[in-house]
């Protein structure tokens, strides 16, 4: 699904954020991406969704070299990736329904189809009764679930999440991760960046660890935190 080959990223006027990173996430796989603050987790996710371009190396999505994707085609690529942010990135003056419907409106779905899919997505994240609230009236956990509903509403094959539980207490964090597990169980590839090692230990999934922009370990973080 995602393959990095010797990928480096240097921001202008800054040190190297990523150095010769290699990894391969299989189709239908779920993995965590961890590391200290500033290790390069967000940068790695941004490279996949073409929010940033690599300085060196190659990135493949489903076998396609995404450095070949022109600026004009970036929006079409993003429609196949569901992205979830720590700060939700919701439109605060629009209802929950309108927020979740946004990717579908952009893709030109019809009204009844939009309604059906949005309600299905909200149902999955347990927010069917909040469809016509505005996000400001929701709790942090609920806002994060709206963000997840928006990311999955057009059924992308790949979900990327950057610190999705960053502002949540452990109980809510576990609920959010259960949601990701549910999507993964129906074949969606999931990559979650987090520095919450306790959470990772509970879930027992493949874990990619970054240290100062280098991939320092790749595998199960076995036992020690359990």
């Amino acid at each position: 699904m995602i393959k990095f080959e010797q990928v480096s990223k240097v921001y202008s006027g800054s040190h190297q954020a990523l150095q010769k990173v290699d990894f391969h996430l299989q189709q239908g796989e779920m993995a965590f991406l961890t590391g200290h603050s500033g290790a390069g987790k967000s940068t790695l996710l941004k490279l996949i969704s073409l929010l940033e371009r690599p300085s060196d190396g190659k990135i493949y999505l489903n076998g396609n070299d995404i450095s070949q994707v022109s600026r004009r085609h970036v929006p079409y690529l993003r429609r196949h990736i569901g992205i979830i942010f720590q700060d939700h990135r919701l439109l605060m003056d629009k209802t929950v329904f309108e927020n979740v419907a946004l990717p579908l409106v952009i893709e030109g779905y019809g009204r009844s189809e939009i309604e059906r899919r949005v309600m299905a997505a909200l149902d999955k994240v347990g927010l069917s009764d909040k469809a016509f609230c505005v996000p400001v009236h929701l709790s942090g956990g609920e806002q994060q679930r709206v963000g997840i509903a928006r990311a999955v509403v057009n059924k992308p094959p790949l979900l990327l999440a950057d610190e999705p539980t960053g502002n949540l207490d452990p109980k809510l964090s576990t609920e959010i991760l259960k949601l990701f597990e549910a999507f993964n169980s129906v074949g969606v590839s999931v990559l979650i960046a987090t520095h919450d090692l306790g959470l990772i230990a509970k879930m027992r999934y493949r874990t990619l660890t970054l240290r100062n922009g280098k991939m320092s370990s790749d595998g199960l973080l076995g036992g020690s935190y359990a």
Partner: protein, 322 residues
């Protein structure tokens, strides 16, 4: 599972005919939506549209002024009459032949013949020198033929051409055209036209800048919304659309304001002119904007709004990256 990129990045998840239909439904929704957006900042929107309206009303009013002035001076153009003084000693027959011949000129509207005898009678009546003429042995006045050009040849330049042509005739001793004042008038009018055109261009340029600036502020206000749209895969064109509609609305409504302003000005001027000229009895009317001119003004205003928002949107939305 879907191939993320496939051969074409535009994977048709939605059939084309639905996509096509929804494209227009979206357009309509965005058009109405951006009209609603204007109400969110009523003062700023109204100011922009008012400035647009005033900027368009000024050249439009100048245009009306010229149109009415031209209508009045059109009647004066008939004063461009050519007087031909005939050779002395022409026989009656030759003279009649000559008149016959020049009446057939395509430029000529009418020909009036004033014989030597008629000329002297007129002269006696018009001047106070009637008695003086009795002392002369013979009539000193030449026969005169007055030629009125057709309206399309009545301009100073056209009348001059006609005069030159008529002077070629062997029966003509001398031709005369009193058009100096007419030339001056036409010169003044074209000077006014030139300055109005220059002012109009400056005003239209300021309209471009004003609408562009308002749209730019709109874009900055909605920066985070634009970022989110880009994050979930909106194309630039999709993000541009509401702003383009906003520009179109500014233009259209500004155009209507300009029309209201110009029409009020015409009404006000009309009553003022009637009062000054004491024309209560006549059915004097100032010409207002015709339907074609009204449509042209709205079209131009909308086009200006659209073009300036397009230029702004092209530049600024490109710069916003999530």
């Amino acid at each position: 599972m879907l191939n993320i990129l496939g051969s074409s990045p535009r994977i048709a998840k939605v059939p084309w005919y639905k996509r096509f239909l929804m494209y227009w439904v979206n357009h309509f929704q965005q058009a109405v939506g951006s009209l609603g957006e204007l109400w969110r900042t009523p003062m700023a929107s109204l100011m922009t549209m008012a400035v647009l309206g005033i900027s368009l009303a000024l050249p439009a009013s100048f245009h009306l002024l010229l149109k009415n002035a031209e209508r009045v001076t059109a009647s004066w153009d008939n004063a461009a009459e050519v007087s031909l003084f005939l050779q002395p000693g022409l026989s009656e027959k030759t003279t009649q032949n000559f008149i016959q011949r020049i009446s057939l000129y395509s430029e000529v509207e009418a020909v009036t013949y004033i014989s030597k005898e008629q000329a002297i009678v007129e002269f006696r009546e018009m001047s106070g020198f009637g008695n003086a003429l009795d002392f002369l042995d013979e009539n000193p006045l030449p026969a005169v033929v007055q030629v009125t050009p057709k309206p399309q040849h009545a301009s100073p330049a056209g009348a001059k051409l006609l005069l030159a042509k008529l002077q070629q005739e062997k029966e003509v001793e001398q031709g005369k055209l009193d058009i100096e004042w007419l030339e001056r008038l036409h010169g003044m009018i074209s000077l006014v036209v030139d300055s109005v055109v220059a002012i109009a261009f400056l005003l239209l340029a300021s309209v471009l800048l004003i609408v562009g600036n308002t749209i730019r502020l709109n874009i900055l206000n909605r920066r985070s919304e634009i970022e989110v749209m880009k994050l979930v895969g909106a194309t630039d064109a999709f993000i541009h659309r509401p702003f383009l509609y906003t520009g179109l609305w500014y233009g259209l409504i500004g155009g209507m304001i300009a029309w209201v302003l110009t029409s009020s000005l015409v009404l006000w001027m009309e009553s003022a002119v009637i009062r000054v000229a004491g024309l209560y009895q006549s059915d004097f009317r100032l010409l207002g904007l015709s339907l074609a001119e009204f449509v042209f003004m709205l079209g131009l205003a909308s086009l200006l709004g659209l073009v300036s928002s397009y230029i702004t949107v092209k530049r600024h939305i490109h710069l916003i990256e999530p």
